[in-house]
């Protein structure tokens, strides 16, 4: 996606500068492309108690696979590490839990100050089942504002495990909440929004309800992350985007007709795949035999199939 967009942008700029020689423009384009390649990876802070679903969320947003089976449980200071995901590297900051003790508060404040001023976006993950947001609200109003009120605007508050919200009767075929669940999820979201705004009145963000395990509302979650990021850095996150497929959890019999498996032969499936590739992908694929093997191995891995 990014390469195709870049081509279009350079095309637009070239059209605006007909008097610039091709050599001069190529020089400019190469310099900018070099800069694009060297752009630091996205820096994402994951904030939340152990067991709230941080590593699962990372996996379903970026296909980290077995690289991150669980976050290092670390309550002393943040764990920062580069994670190799399907489409590149992401720098992850696993932030310590909140409200542990008054003694640890000063240390945590230092940690937050150090990390939050240098990240692109912070994902604050809450368990949709639990109502205990009071400690977070207190923390927000006192500590985060003391660092920088604009930091709070870089935070995305998300409720994971919405499939377990009362009465926990998630639709097994459609992979969506029941009507009653939907109402309760909305109520929880509005409650959390209200409490955050009480703590940080300038906060203009949204609260997203999702389920990492059910692959539910992942594009909505990703969009919220993008909107909280600095404008010039959003493309870097999208470059790593590899959302798990919601339809995988939907019974085939209730999927829209065009998304149901159509029993194509392997040859038909490969032909369709090749037709949907960009020129650059096709050129890369045809470079040599090893590229073909790597390409299909990566494709199978992304689709959750075992490598042969």
């Amino acid at each position: 996606m990014i390469n195709d967009m870049l081509k279009k942008i350079f095309g637009d700029i070239r059209a605006e500068n007909p008097s610039l020689s091709q050599e001069e423009f190529d020089k400019l384009q190469r310099a900018v492309e070099e800069q694009v390649k060297k752009e630091p990876p996205p820096r994402v802070a994951f904030i939340g108690e152990a067991g709230v679903g941080k590593s699962t969320t990372l996996n379903v947003l970026f296909n980290a696979g077995q690289e991150v089976s669980h976050f290092e449980a670390c309550t002393q200071e943040e764990a920062a590490f580069d994670v190799e995901v399907a489409k590149g590297v992401i720098r992850i900051y696993d932030m310590p839990g909140l409200g542990e003790s008054i003694e640890k508060r000063e240390k945590h404040l230092e940690t937050y100050k150090r990390v939050l001023e240098n990240i692109d976006v912070a994902l604050w993950i809450l368990d949709a089942q639990y109502r205990a947001i009071e400690s977070i609200q207190t923390y927000l109003s006192r500590e985060i504002k003391a660092i920088n009120s604009s930091i709070a605007e870089r935070m995305v508050f998300v409720l994971n495990k919405v499939d377990l919200v009362h009465p926990a009767d998630w639709h097994p075929l459609a992979n969506v909440p029941s009507e009653e669940q939907k109402r309760n999820i909305e109520a929880r979201i509005n409650d959390v929004k209200k409490k955050i705004r009480e703590a940080v009145p300038t906060w203009k963000g949204d609260v997203i309800g999702y389920s990492a395990l059910r692959y539910y509302n992942l594009p909505q979650l990703f969009l919220a992350m993008l909107e909280a990021m600095p404008r010039g850095r959003r493309w870097v996150l999208t470059d790593r985007k590899a959302l798990a497929d919601f339809l995988e959890k939907v019974d085939e019999r209730v999927r829209p007709l065009q998304s149901r498996p159509q029993n194509k032969t392997p040859e038909e499936q490969v032909t369709e795949l090749l037709e949907n590739m960009t020129e650059e992908q096709r050129a890369g694929l045809l470079k040599n035999n090893e590229s073909v093997h790597s390409f299909f191995s990566r494709l199978m891995k992304n689709k959750g199939h075992k490598k042969e």
């Binding site: 400019l28 909107e227 999208t238």
Partner: protein, 97 residues
């Protein structure tokens, strides 16, 4: 719900379930379109800034398409607002200590 139960569903119920899935997919499609739009804007903003800086460094004059140039103007305005707010945050913090 087992396969047997699905087969026992009325066609009205099956349609209702299919509509639930379609509604969710529509919501996801809207989000996906906005992701593409934000990404496109972000990359254009990044490239516009980078190409201007690089051209200046190399001594070339470069004109940007109007839409890209407007983004750079917005950056200066946003940057000014951010600086203004940060200055007032600091004043408030100093007063409260």
């Amino acid at each position: 719900m087992s396969a047997t139960t699905y087969d026992q569903l009325s066609s009205a119920e099956r349609s209702r379930i299919e509509a639930m899935v379609k509604s969710q997919l529509d919501s996801m499609d809207t989000a996906n379109r906005q992701i593409v739009q934000r990404t496109r804007e972000s990359l254009a903003y990044y490239v516009a800034n980078a190409i201007q800086a690089t051209a200046a460094f190399l001594g070339y004059a470069i004109a940007l398409p109007l839409a890209y140039a407007e983004m750079i103007v917005e950056r200066f305005v946003d940057g000014f607002k951010e600086g203004w707010n940060a200055a007032f945050d600091e004043i408030r913090r100093t007063r409260n200590t």
